[in-house]
Amino acid sequence: MFVLHEWALAEAVIAAALEVADKESLNRVTEVVLKVGELQGIELEILEFAFSQLKRGKLENAEFKTGMAKAEFQCRVCGHKWVLDKQKLDENVAEAIHFLPEIAHAYLRCPGCESPDFEVVEGRGIWLQTIRGVR
């Protein structure tokens, strides 16, 4: 299971969390809270497994908490708002979006006016929300 794309994102999270820990002069990190966007279809189990394998140094004993954010879109042309309906996504399209969420603009259209000019308001990628630790 460790050969997947989630591994690359987990490495980025670890690198960013270590940077924050250094910047904030934390001796050890106790908790890292992440927000993961639904659009990218990241498998949380795989992500958590990657964290368990990758965490080191100041992050050795940190707990990683991941919350999922629903994918929401808003059309820039007609203003229509909608949420992702994963059931309607073709498997190949879902996989392409998994690797590169911006590819949504190649395959999705505003259900109101069919424009591809929409904004991913929420639920795009992976964000480091809070880090707790001991100085």
Partner: protein, 241 residues
């Protein structure tokens, strides 16, 4: 909230000796042809080369190199497919050729995503085929890739060269290395581009005459290698090392 992706980009690029952005101020000057042919020339000379098509809304290097059925491998990220001895990366793997209209913010996000998940091998050169101008992709690369170098492509047109001046001024003010300028599609014996390039303190690395045979070589790398265009790019390759 912090976007963690930018923290891993330097790690992803650490085994690449030279990162060369093939750029221009304007579109239609032959950036993608130069970038693709330069990558082929470097690979033919035994260098380990990557080619990354960053013109996300109008990718074309896959057409120039005749890449149809290549796919990257998923292994702790994305491992580019090897084509004609080149590690090749393009949005085309995911768009499948569908129209992909992207605003600046989306271009930026796509660029950061691909830089953070792509696992390049040990490379002598990574050639970046840039979108025209000094927009989001250029600004992001300047922000994210330390030691990036630029190769600027122009035509003989005063309109194209005017935008070269702007790009060169920006890069100079940021102390970014410019390998040199290439004059493409040259149709006369004028030395204007040469003298103007020298005025900018830059080197004109090559003059590529207009090559009417190039269109028929698109998609056929064997034929591309035999063009006058490719022989001129090979001369430029020899000068940039």
């Amino acid at each position: 909230m912090i976007d963690p992706r930018t923290s891993i980009i330097a790690e992803r690029l650490k085994n690449i000796r030279n990162i060369v952005a093939v750029s221009s101020g304007k579109g239609g000057v032959g950036k993608s042809l130069v970038a693709s042919t330069l990558a082929v020339a470097l690979a033919d000379n035994g260098y380990k080369v990557g080619l990354f098509d960053l013109d996300f809304t109008s990718p074309s290097t896959h057409l120039i190199l005749g890449i149809e059925n290549a796919h990257p491998r998923e292994e702790k990220g994305i491992v580019p497919a090897e084509v004609h001895g080149i590690e090749y990366m393009s949005i085309i793997y995911y768009s499948g050729g569908s129209v992909t209209p992207l605003r600046g913010e989306d271009v930026s996000n796509a660029l950061i995503e691909l830089l953070s998940i792509t696992r390049w091998g040990e490379l002598d050169f990574l050639i970046l085929d840039m979108p025209p101008g000094i927009g989001d992709a250029t600004l992001d690369l300047l922000r994210l890739i330390k030691g990036i170098q630029f190769l600027i492509i122009t035509t003989s047109s005063v309109l194209a060269f005017e935008t070269v001046k702007n790009l060169a001024r920006l890069l100079k003010s940021l102390r970014i290395s410019v390998i040199g300028v290439v004059e493409n599609m040259k149709m006369n014996h004028s030395n204007i581009v040469r003298s103007e390039t020298e005025k900018l303190g830059l080197e004109l690395l090559g003059e590529i005459p207009y090559d009417a045979t190039i269109e028929k070589a698109i998609g056929d790398v064997g034929r591309l290698r035999r063009t006058v265009f490719a022989s001129k790019v090979e001369e430029i390759r020899a000068r940039i090392q």
